[in-house]
C-alpha cells in the first residue's frame, strides 16, 4: 500500500521536472535582462544619489563623509541658490502657460479651419524641437542682442507704445527661447486631439441645439484635456530640466540644472550636486502628481464606431486669422534655423548684418571636428539600436504578458523621462565615478548607458501605444498555428509594431544627436560629441564655426525625419506621450 503511494508520488515528481523543461523560458530570460539593466544603471544610481544628498558636502571626495543635512541647509541659506530655485519655477511655469497659449489655438486652426498646406504646417511645426535648444539660444543673441536686427526693428515698431525689448540675457531670453522651442509639443498634441475627435459627439450636440461656443466649452475642450495635460507636463519637465538655454543666455540667472552642473564641474562636490538634484526631482514629482490628479478624473474612453470627418470652419475671417497666426508663430520659431544657416557662411554677426563671407567654417570641420563627428554618430546610432531593441521588448512584455510588478517596471522605464539630464548624469557619476569599483566616467560605455536610460521611453511608449491597438488574437493565431513565443514575436509582432519602433527610434536618434545636458558631465576628452563642441564654440564666441556644425546636425536630423515621414504609419507624437 505504502509502496504504491510512493510510486505515484515519484511519477508526479518526474512529470514536474519534465514540465519545467518543456516550459518556454525565452520570455523569462528576455524579461530578466532589461530588469537587471534598469536595476544596475537606474535604480542603483538614483538610490546612491538620494543617499548622497544627505551626506556632508565635500569637494573631490567620493568617500562616505557622514550623514548631514548640510547640503540642503547650505542651499536654503544661500541667496544665489534660492534665487536659482525661484528662477527654475518661474521659467518652467511661464513656459508651460505660454506654450499652451500658442500651441492650442494653432492646433485648433490647423485642425479645424479650412486653410491650405496643412501637412506642410504640421511638418514645419515640429522643426523647432529637432534643433539643439542652446543653438536656438545663441541665435536669439544674434537677433535680439544689443545691436541685433530684430531688436532694432521691434524697438522701432514698439517705441511709440513705450515698450522696450528687455535684454536677451536673463529671464526674458530663457522664457522666449524655451517657449519657441517647446510649443511644438502642445501644437502637435492639440492638433492630433482636435482633428482626431469624434465628430459625431459634436454633431449630436449641435442637433440638440447647442451653439458653437457651447459645443466648444462643453464637448470639444473637456475631451481634449487629457491630451493637453500630457503636453503641458511634457513641456514643464523639459523646461525645468533644460540645461543648454540657461547655460548660454541665462547670464547670472542660474537655474537648477546649471547649478548642478557648476556645483559638480566647478567644486567637484558630488554630494551637494546630489542635494540639488533631489530638489529638482522633487519639484518635477509634485507637478507630475498634480497633473495626474487633474487628468485622471477626466480620462475618457473614446467610443467611436464610424469615422466621420470633423467639420471645418470655412468663413473668410476665420481662415485669414488662422493663416496669420500660423505664419507668425512659424516665422518666429523658425528664425533660429534660418539665422544659423546664414551665420554659418560668415565670420561675424555682431551688428545688424553678418560680415566677412567665408566657407572656412565648413572647410575646417573635418580637421577640427572629425573625432566629435565620429563620436556623435557612433554613440547615437548604437544607443538608438539598443533603445529600439530594449524598448520594444519591454513594451511587449508589460503590454502583452502583464507580469506581476508590471506597473513597477513601467514606472522605472518612464522615470528617466521626467528626470533632467543633469540629474541622470549626477546619479551615474555617483555610482560609477571617482573611487567606485566600476569606474566608467569618461568612457563610451557610460554615455551609451545614460543615453539608453534616458531615451528608452520613446520607443517604449510608442510601441506600447501601438500594441494596445493591436488585436491580441493576431498573436494567438500564430501560437495556435504552432509557433513558439519567439517565432511569433519575430514574424508577427515585430513586423506589426515596426512603424512605432521606427518613430520611437527616429525620435531617439534625432534627440541624441543633439544631446548636451548629460554628455557635458559624462564625456571625457576622448568621448566629446558635436553638441559639446558647438557649446564650447558658442562660449568662446566663435559663432561661425558653431553655426556650421549646427547646420550639419540640422541637415542630418531633417533628412532622417523627412525619410521617416514619407513612410506610412509612423507617428512622432506617439513617442512623446507619457
Amino acid at each position: 500500500m505504502s509502496k504504491k503511494y510512493s510510486m505515484i508520488e515519484n511519477g508526479a515528481e518526474t512529470s514536474k521536472i519534465k514540465k519545467f523543461f518543456q516550459k518556454d523560458f525565452s520570455q523569462v530570460i528576455i524579461f530578466a535582462i532589461p530588469m537587471l539593466f534598469l536595476a544596475v544603471f537606474l535604480l542603483y544610481p538614483m538610490g546612491i544619489t538620494l543617499l548622497r544628498a544627505f551626506w556632508k558636502p565635500a569637494s573631490y571626495n567620493f568617500k562616505f563623509t557622514g550623514w548631514s543635512l548640510d547640503g540642503f541647509r547650505q542651499f536654503f541659506r544661500t541667496k544665489l541658490y534660492l534665487k536659482s530655485l525661484r528662477n527654475s519655477v518661474v521659467v518652467s511655469t511661464s513656459v508651460t502657460l505660454l506654450t499652451l497659449l500658442i500651441g492650442v489655438p494653432m492646433g485648433y486652426c490647423v485642425a479645424r479651419v479650412k486653410i491650405p498646406g496643412k501637412k506642410l504646417l504640421v511638418s514645419l511645426g515640429i522643426l523647432p524641437i529637432i534643433m539643439p535648444s542652446f543653438v536656438g539660444a545663441y541665435t536669439w543673441v544674434i537677433l535680439l542682442g544689443k545691436n541685433g536686427i530684430l531688436r532694432v526693428a521691434l524697438n522701432w515698431i514698439l517705441n511709440p507704445f513705450g515698450i522696450k525689448i528687455p535684454s536677451i540675457y536673463g529671464m526674458f531670453g530663457m522664457i522666449l527661447c524655451m517657449t519657441l522651442t517647446y510649443y511644438p509639443f502642445v501644437f502637435q498634441m492639440a492638433y492630433g486631439a482636435f482633428s482626431g475627435a469624434n465628430a459625431l459627439l459634436e454633431e449630436s450636440a449641435m442637433l440638440m441645439g447647442a451653439g458653437k461656443a457651447r459645443i466648444m466649452r462643453t464637448i470639444t475642450l473637456p475631451l481634449i484635456i487629457p491630451s493637453l495635460g500630457a503636453a503641458a507636463l511634457l513641456v514643464f519637465v523639459r523646461a525645468i530640466g533644460n540645461f543648454g538655454i540657461p547655460a548660454v543666455i541665462g547670464g547670472n540667472n542660474y537655474v537648477l540644472p546649471t547649478l548642478i552642473s557648476f556645483a559638480y564641474s566647478g567644486d567637484g562636490d558630488i554630494n551637494f550636486s546630489s542635494s540639488i538634484a533631489v530638489l529638482n526631482v522633487a519639484i518635477t514629482a509634485i507637478v507630475l502628481f498634480v497633473q495626474k490628479y487633474i487628468v485622471s478624473r477626466r480620462e475618457y474612453e473614446t467610443i467611436s464606431s464610424s469615422h466621420v470627418e470633423v467639420k471645418q470652419h470655412e468663413g473668410v475671417g476665420a481662415r485669414v486669422f488662422a493663416i496669420i497666426l500660423c505664419l507668425i508663430v512659424l516665422i518666429f520659431s523658425l528664425l533660429p534655423q534660418v539665422t544659423i544657416i546664414v551665420m554659418s557662411f560668415f565670420k561675424n554677426w555682431t551688428g545688424l548684418l553678418p560680415t566677412g563671407f567665408t566657407l572656412d567654417n565648413y572647410i575646417s570641420i573635418p580637421r577640427k571636428a572629425h573625432r566629435e563627428l565620429f563620436n556623435s554618430f557612433f554613440l547615437s546610432i548604437v544607443a538608438t539600436m539598443l533603445c529600439a531593441i530594449f524598448g520594444s521588448i519591454l513594451a511587449y512584455i508589460t503590454e502583452r504578458k502583464k507580469p506581476k510588478g508590471a506597473s513597477l517596471l513601467d514606472l522605472s522605464i518612464m522615470a528617466p523621462f521626467i528626470l533632467p539630464g543633469t540629474v541622470v548624469s549626477i546619479a551615474l557619476i555617483s555610482a560609477f565615478g571617482g573611487n567606485s569599483v566600476f569606474k566608467l566616467t569618461g568612457t563610451y560605455t557610460i554615455l551609451l548607458i545614460s543615453y539608453m536610460i534616458r531615451r528608452t521611453p520613446y520607443v517604449y511608449r510608442s510601441v506600447a501605444a501601438n500594441l494596445t491597438q493591436l488585436n491580441p488574437s493576431l498573436e494567438e493565431a500564430s501560437t495556435i498555428s504552432g509557433a513558439t513565443w519567439f517565432y511569433t514575436f519575430r514574424k508577427v509582432s515585430v513586423p506589426l509594431i515596426m512603424p512605432s519602433i521606427i518613430s520611437g527610434s527616429v525620435m531617439t536618434l534625432t534627440t541624441l544627436l543633439q544631446e548636451l545636458s548629460t554628455t557635458i558631465l559624462l564625456s571625457g576628452a576622448r568621448t566629446r560629441t558635436v553638441p559639446i563642441l558647438i557649446y564650447n564654440a558658442v562660449l568662446a564666441n566663435s559663432l561661425g564655426q558653431a553655426s556650421a556644425l549646427s547646420t550639419v546636425l540640422l541637415i542630418v536630423v531633417f533628412i532622417i525625419i523627412y525619410a521617416m515621414n514619407s513612410r506610412k504609419g509612423t507617428n512622432l507624437a506617439s513617442s512623446m506621450k507619457m
Binding site: 518543456q22 494567438e476 495556435i480 498555428s481 504552432g482 509557433a483 506589426l496
Partner: protein, 373 residues
C-alpha cells in the same frame, strides 16, 4: 488524423484567491466525437468562449483534464497541440499576402516550399478562393466573407487534429452569415476534422452542428442534436434558449408513473402531461411550469372552453407565419406570450381582447428553476 476531444471535470476559476473570483467553468465533463461538428451555445458570459480558449490552450484550466484522443493535453502549450482556430476578428496578418497568411502554419513547421505551394493551393480551392489566390492580394483588400474563408484555410492547411471556430460568423451580414454557415458545414464534412463551433445564435448552432451543448453560467445544461434539444429540452432554460417557449405558472394535482396532472394557476385549467413530456419529477402540490411553443398556442376572438383571456399587444407579419404577442394576467404568466398562427386572424387587431388556447398534447412540464434567462 482527426481525434475526439474529451473533458473530465474541467474547472476554470479566474482571479483565484482574489476578491473577484469568477468560476467560469464548473466541472465540465463530456466528449466530442471524432469528425463531429460540435456547437457550444449559450448566452454571453456562459463560458463557451472560455471553454474554447482553454481547449486551444490560450488559457489554462484550473483543474480537471482535457484529452485529444488518448493524449492528456491539459498542460501542453498551445503551439504543440496541433489545432486550427478561426477567430471572431479573423486575425489575418495585414503585413502578409493571403498566400503567406495561409502558409504560415506550414512555414512554422518548416515544410518544403513545393509542398507549401501545393497544400495552400489545395486548401484555397476547398474554401473557394482559387481566383483570389492568383492575384494574391493583402487580406485587407478582401471582403468580409473572403477574409473569413482565408482564416478557415489558414486554420486547415496543416491538417490540425481539432478545428476551433470562435463566433466565426459574427462579423458578417445576415444573408452572408446564412450562406457561410452552410459553407462551413460543407468544408467540415469534406475534411472530417473534429470541429468545435462557438456561437450565441441558436438558429446558427441548430443549422450547423451535428450536436450542440447548451451552456449556462459555466455549466453544461444539455447536449444533443438540434432535434433533441428542440423537442426534448431538459429544463426551462434550454427550452426557452433553443427556440421560444411560453410558460404558465401551475401546480401539480396528481401524478403517477405514466402522467402528471397540473392545474394552471387562477384558471382551473387542468392538463394531463405524459411522462415523455415531463422534465421534472413532481410531487402533488409542487409548483411547476407548463410550457408550450408559440406554434402550439392559438388565439381566438371567441371564448372557448379552457381558454385564457388576454390582450393583443403587437401583431407581427413574419412571412410564413403571423406572430401575436398577447398579455395575460401576470399571475398566470408574467411575460408576454408569443403565439404563432399560420394565417392572419381577420377580426383580431392590436389592442383587442382575445382568448388563448393550447394544444394539450404538445405542452410540457418543467421545474420553475431556470425560467429566466
Amino acid at each position: 488524423m482527426s481525434k475526439n476531444v474529451r473533458y473530465e471535470n474541467v474547472n476554470k476559476i479566474f482571479g483565484l484567491g482574489t476578491k473577484n473570483e469568477v468560476h467560469a467553468l464548473k466541472d465540465i465533463s463530456f466528449t466530442i466525437n471524432e469528425g463531429e461538428l460540435f456547437c457550444l451555445l449559450g448566452p454571453s458570459g456562459c463560458g463557451k468562449t472560455t471553454l474554447l480558449r482553454n481547449t486551444a490552450g490560450l488559457d489554462t484550466i484550473t483543474s480537471g483534464k482535457m484529452f485529444y484522443g488518448d493524449v492528456d493535453i491539459s498542460t501542453i502549450p498551445p503551439y504543440k497541440r496541433n489545432i486550427g482556430m478561426v477567430f471572431q476578428s479573423y486575425a489575418l496578418y495585414p503585413h502578409m499576402t493571403i498566400f503567406e497568411n495561409v502558409a504560415y502554419g506550414l512555414r512554422v513547421r518548416k515544410v518544403p516550399n513545393d509542398i507549401v505551394t501545393k497544400k495552400v493551393t489545395e486548401v484555397m480551392e476547398l474554401v473557394g478562393l482559387q481566383e483570389e489566390l492568383k492575384r494574391n492580394p493583402s487580406p485587407t483588400a478582401l471582403s468580409g466573407g473572403q477574409q473569413q474563408r482565408v482564416a478557415i484555410a489558414r486554420a486547415l492547411v496543416y491538417d490540425p487534429d481539432v478545428l476551433l471556430l470562435d463566433e466565426p460568423l459574427a462579423n458578417l451580414d445576415a444573408k452572408l452569415r446564412r450562406y457561410m454557415r452552410a459553407e462551413i458545414r460543407r468544408i467540415q464534412k469534406a475534411t472530417n476534422i473534429t470541429t468545435i463551433f462557438v456561437t450565441h445564435d441558436q438558429e446558427e448552432a441548430m443549422a450547423v452542428g451535428d450536436r450542440l451543448a447548451v451552456l449556462r453560467k459555466g455549466i453544461v445544461e444539455q447536449i444533443g442534436t438540434s432535434d433533441e434539444l428542440y423537442n426534448q429540452p431538459n429544463n426551462a432554460f434550454v427550452a426557452n434558449f433553443i427556440g421560444k417557449m411560453n410558460f404558465f405558472n401551475a401546480h401539480v394535482i396528481a401524478s403517477n408513473n405514466e402522467e402528471t396532472v397540473a392545474e394552471i394557476d387562477k384558471t382551473g385549467i387542468r392538463i394531463a402531461i405524459k411522462k415523455e413530456r415531463r422534465h421534472v419529477d413532481p410531487l402533488v402540490g409542487d409548483v411547476v411550469l407548463v410550457g408550450g411553443r408559440p406554434e402550439y398556442l392559438s388565439v381566438s376572438s371567441e371564448d372557448e372552453d379552457d381558454s385564457i383571456p388576454g390582450t393583443v399587444r403587437i401583431i407581427q407579419h413574419l412571412g410564413s407565419f403571423i406572430r401575436y404577442e398577447v398579455e395575460i394576467s401576470g399571475e398566470i404568466s408574467p411575460v408576454t406570450l408569443e403565439i404563432d398562427m399560420d394565417s392572419l386572424q381577420k377580426n383580431i387587431h392590436e389592442g383587442d381582447k382575445v382568448y388563448v388556447t393550447f394544444d394539450r398534447n404538445r405542452v410540457a412540464l418543467f421545474s420553475p428553476e431556470g425560467r429566466d434567462l
